[in-house]
């Protein structure tokens, strides 16, 4: 990643965070038990070393091109745009990556790092199962032991992905604590890691957790925005008028936003999952309804009660069903660079069907939240304006959930 390192540009750049201890404004940091602390320092050192090693970058580029299938296309969704009657919508087709989502970008980077660090056993948490599948995939590719922690509720609603992980040779542990979703899986993965620190690498799937995970995952996902920024200029001759991405932990959004952060005239929209509605008590919108707090190694906006107990998130999309958000998003919210909005379960379901019918692309329910916001925004814009939507994953895994919501028995 070429970086402009002159002092002036750094002073004016929003892309230089975090500080040396992992803080983005008041957010981020490294809130972990002492047992893990030396590991975090070691990981940071290894990552910093790898990042500046041309050989590492070359190796990563090789796998991204020949195994993941990058670059991913930027598709001008003409029928969708025409139907909405406003801005031209471009889809960044991350769902075309191997394993069907943006998750592999990060997983590929981290697995190469884990190998450099000599780790032989990989643990990971997963919500919808996309990150679990991506992790199991690279473990199969490199012959590493793989243990996936997944909430019992998610195991139930994402059966196809659970079976894919089994086929790939991973062991899937259903977690019954709490509501049995992503937050509980994260707790359990951290417990496994702390008990097996010597040979185990914790492969975090989103831009959250203790430093350096939020930075590292962002860096690996930034390939999305770097490509999209070039592609939109090739196709339209200029930068877009909006970039939209869905947010759970926020890795696909951070990946597409980061290369645009210094393009201050390009508005960025992060779409949180409102669930049944922002004030229904059944929501996953951590920024809209949360307060800053400390969980899973970082300070960030969290859904919590007045006593500091973390509350359960709700979203139709298992991948967005998390009571927190990456710390860099929390900072971008505080400084006002990104607009955080939301879409409900129903809006996502509608967007899921609309995109499928008009473009022949079945989006993941996560990505359908971003599409839902484009459906709201596009008609308010002119026909010569453009929106990039990050289509972070494909929706095959969600077909049973959508069928159930539409009252169809498969």
């Amino acid at each position: 990643m070429p970086a402009d390192t002159s002092i002036t540009s750094q002073l004016n750049s929003l892309r230089t965070g975090p500080d040396e201890r992992g803080h983005f404004g008041i957010h981020g940091g490294r809130f972990v038990a002492e047992t893990l602390m030396p590991l975090m320092l070691e990981l940071e050192q290894s990552y910093n070393h790898a990042k500046t090693d041309p050989q590492f970058q070359e190796e990563l580029d090789y796998y991204l091109r020949h195994y993941v299938g990058r670059p991913s296309p930027l598709w001008h969704a003409k029928r969708l745009s025409e139907t909405l009657g406003g801005a031209q919508i471009y889809l960044k087709r991350e769902e075309l990556n191997h394993t069907g989502s943006h998750k592999l970008n990060n997983v590929m980077g981290q697995i190469l790092l884990a190998r450099r660090m000599g780790k032989t056993r990989i643990v990971a948490e997963t919500g919808a199962g996309q990150h679990g599948v991506a992790t199991a995939t690279v473990c199969a590719l490199f012959g590493l032991d793989c243990e996936i922690y997944m909430g019992a509720t998610d195991v139930e609603r994402q059966k196809p992905n659970v079976f894919r992980m089994h086929l790939l040779g991973a062991k899937v542990h259903p977690v019954t604590a709490g509501a049995g979703t992503l937050k509980d899986a994260m707790n359990e993965a951290m417990r496994d890691w702390v008990a097996n620190v010597e040979n185990t690498y914790f492969l975090v799937g989103t831009v959250a957790g203790p430093h350096p995970y939020p930075t590292m995952v962002r860096d690996f996902q930034s390939v999305i925005g770097t490509e999209a920024r070039e592609q939109i200029q090739e196709q339209t001759g200029r930068l877009p008028d909006a970039v939209i991405a869905a947010i759970g932990g926020g890795s696909n959004a951070m990946g597409i936003f980061h290369p645009f952060l210094d393009d201050v005239d390009v508005p960025l929209y992060g779409v949180e999952a409102a669930g049944l509605g922002l004030d229904s008590g059944k929501t996953a919108a951590s920024i809209a309804r949360g307060k800053p707090g400390v969980l899973h190694g970082n300070r960030t906006y969290l859904l919590q009660d007045e006593h500091g107990q973390i509350t359960e998130a709700h979203s139709i999309s298992a991948g967005l069903d998390y009571p927190g958000i990456g710390p860099e998003h929390s900072w971008l919210k505080d400084i006002g660079r990104v607009n955080y909005v939301s879409a409900t379960d129903n809006q996502a379901l509608e967007a899921f069907q609309t995109l499928t019918k008009l473009e022949g692309i079945i989006p993941a329910l996560e990505s359908a939240h971003a599409v839902a916001h484009a459906i709201v925004m596009a008609p308010t814009m002119t026909k010569d304006q453009t929106i990039i939507v990050n289509l972070s994953g494909r929706g095959d895994k969600d077909v049973p959930t959508v069928a159930a919501h539409l009252g169809v028995k498969l």
Partner: protein, 271 residues
């Protein structure tokens, strides 16, 4: 002199280590945990760790996770836990109380007000599991001003040079997490403990207590001799929880069972 220092000075004169039993506040209800807390010193507790239930106890094993869940169900909050300790202090002015928990409830309470309230309630030390020295400057000045010791955690994974740095500002005592893992699972061997103590004693003059994975009187005896104290948590909670009825409520056997366990540990430590 602080209660913690007075306690370790006294034990040093007696020529033995400390027993630090753990109690999860509000497990399974407020009254039971208060009654147990009040009787723990007489059963042989030298210092007491009071756990503050948290929704996401990511460093804890299944036993303490369940205890935390029962406590929360019974209405536990950080404020309620401080009130519990305040009531205990009305009848006991010498047993040090160490509050153990995760950072978010403290952060939400407001760090400065929390330290003041904890001190007035009679808390002596704080163990904040997920607040490593690198982040503890947000808490340390207020704790110091209130006269609370922040207990520094050390682990088998902590390298020697790091030990020196993190123990420079330690106070009260040092807590050695004797295994890499979560509470109440595996145990360290005697040789591992001895090697660890040599490293720790080279880095600090403070008393060092051992925790995580101590469940039997024999293990407590060994740990309290090799180090300056033994923390026992999951083993007490597990035996007590086995006496709860099918709704998870305390029965008449609950408190006596916990006290018997503490007594058997104390005998081994004092013996």
């Amino acid at each position: 002199m602080s209660r913690i220092k007075a306690c370790f000075d006294r034990l040093k004169k007696e020529g033995r280590g400390a027993l630090l039993p753990y109690l999860e506040a509000f497990d399974p209800d407020r009254e039971t945990s208060l009654a147990l807390l009040r009787q723990m010193p007489e059963a042989g507790a030298d210092l007491i760790e009071v756990g503050v239930p948290f929704s996401d106890p990511s460093a804890d094993g299944p036993t303490i996770q369940l205890a935390a869940r029962r406590g929360l169900k019974a209405g536990a909050t950080l404020k309620g836990t401080l009130e519990l300790i305040g009531e205990f202090r009305k009848g006991n002015d010498h047993t040090p109380i160490i509050l153990m928990g995760y950072y978010n409830p403290i952060d939400r309470y407001g760090v400065e007000r929390f330290c003041q309230d904890a001190r007035s309630a009679g808390v002596d030390g704080l163990i904040v599991v997920d607040l490593p020295p690198e982040e503890s400057e947000e808490l340390a000045p207020y704790a110091k001003a209130a006269g609370l010791d922040i207990i520094t955690l050390t682990a088998p994974t902590t390298p020697d040079d790091r030990l020196k740095t993190i123990l420079k500002n330690a106070s009260g005592f040092v807590y050695y997490v004797s295994i890499t893992g979560i509470t109440g699972t595996r145990s360290a061997t005697e040789d591992q403990l001895k090697a660890a103590m040599a490293r720790l004693k080279a880095a600090t003059d403070l008393p060092v207590v051992t925790g995580f994975g101590i469940s039997t009187p024999e293990q407590a005896r060994i740990a309290s001799r090799i180090s300056d104290g033994a923390v026992v948590a999951s083993a007490i909670i597990k035996e007590m929880a086995a006496t709860y009825d099918e709704h998870g409520h305390a029965t008449e056997r609950s408190i006596p069972t916990a006290l018997e366990k503490i007594h058997s540990l104390a005998k081994a430590v004092q013996g």
